[in-house]
Symmetry: C2
Subunit: 213 residues, 2 copies
């Protein structure tokens, strides 16, 4: 059980991360200052440094938090794919949810910011790559290995299959979002079409005709 | 026939574009100055403004020039696909060349820079999107329509097929290049594997079993 002091501390930490995300998205990494973040979170610089050590630690927490929140939404449904009894339907449902989870405006803004700063701050880009696509591909590769063992997929290279799956679903809206900053250029119907067609292509290449056990 | 004065002018224009690319990649769009570009190209600011109007016109020329040069390398081979007599082999050969043409370090640096600046300078991002992937997808969609008419592909939505094709080949190395700034993290063997496997997946979904006419 958490004490009131612990709860206050968790809440304060979250307020600082929210403030930091807002300041970083407005000013970029180099342009943002810990002063500004502390002011926006109504706390002291000393508290911020105490919790996150430095500006890089703060941005790392922003990345981790944003990706964790998005992954949390799809975690159960991706793990459930391994034991699916109707793989095509379940993959389509997962794809439709996954595309919406990833193409959230604040995640696209963070992604643009981190790519733009990758030369100056390669550590931040590594954190994003590892926490985001890296972890996502590893989870999918595990799931696809289990499905191949059940005879439901043919995936000689599960890591490659995971990347093909992910990019077949995400590439079109994700790459457009990198170059278009208005958030509403994809209708929900567009996103469903990309998800469904991505799954169609994936299953044509990786699907198995063997009956389910 | 070009006069010596015309040739000098073409050469000067190219020198300014080369200098501008170097300055933009070093300083970013906001940080770069026309003064610096003029100095590096050993010319006057007045000449730069005369040829390119303003800093945005200059960066637009850098984008257009970089993409044109990359497209020029693959132009004939992509058009030739429409009349291919051995589609799987020719698609694989094109894919292997395409991946190398796109993943050039200076193109990846420009892409990162433009994505990072997309919020502040949406016009530049639009130019990149239109001249690069936009034009590339339109060309591929035309080629796939011709191949579908010959009975060699099934592509109810040729624009979607073009995007699937492109991203199946490019997504893995391209997205890694967005977050990793060392240029040599893909061996030529990796790139060939991505090209070949991308074509395998594409043909499983879009290939036709009908014999060639």
């Amino acid at each position: 059980m958490s004490s009131p002091a612990q709860l206050r501390s968790v809440r304060k930490r979250q307020e600082i991360i929210d403030a930091a995300q807002s300041v970083f998205l407005d000013k970029g990494f180099a342009g943002a200052s810990v002063d500004e973040v502390a002011a926006l979170a109504s706390t002291s610089k000393r508290t911020v440094y105490g919790l996150f050590r430095d500006k890089k630690g703060l941005f790392t927490a922003v990345i981790t938090e944003a990706i964790d929140a998005a992954e949390h939404r799809s975690h159960d449904s991706v793990e459930a794919l391994a034991t699916s009894q109707d793989l095509a339907t379940d993959l389509r449902a997962f794809a439709r949810r996954h595309i919406v989870d990833v193409i959230q405006p604040h995640l696209m803004r963070l992604r643009r910011l981190i790519i733009g700063e990758a030369e100056r701050f390669p550590d931040l880009a590594s954190v994003w790559q590892a926490e985001g696509p890296g972890r996502g591909h590893a989870t999918l590769a595990r799931v696809f290995t289990a499905l191949a063992e059940r005879g439901l997929l043919r995936a000689a290279d599960p890591e490659l299959a995971a990347q093909h799956f992910n990019w077949l679903i995400l590439s079109i809206p994700l790459n457009q979002a990198m170059f278009r900053t208005d958030d509403d250029h994809h209708s929900p119907a567009d996103l469903e079409y990309y998800a469904d067609e991505g799954i169609r292509v994936f299953l044509a290449a990786y699907g198995s005709d063997r009956p389910q056990r």
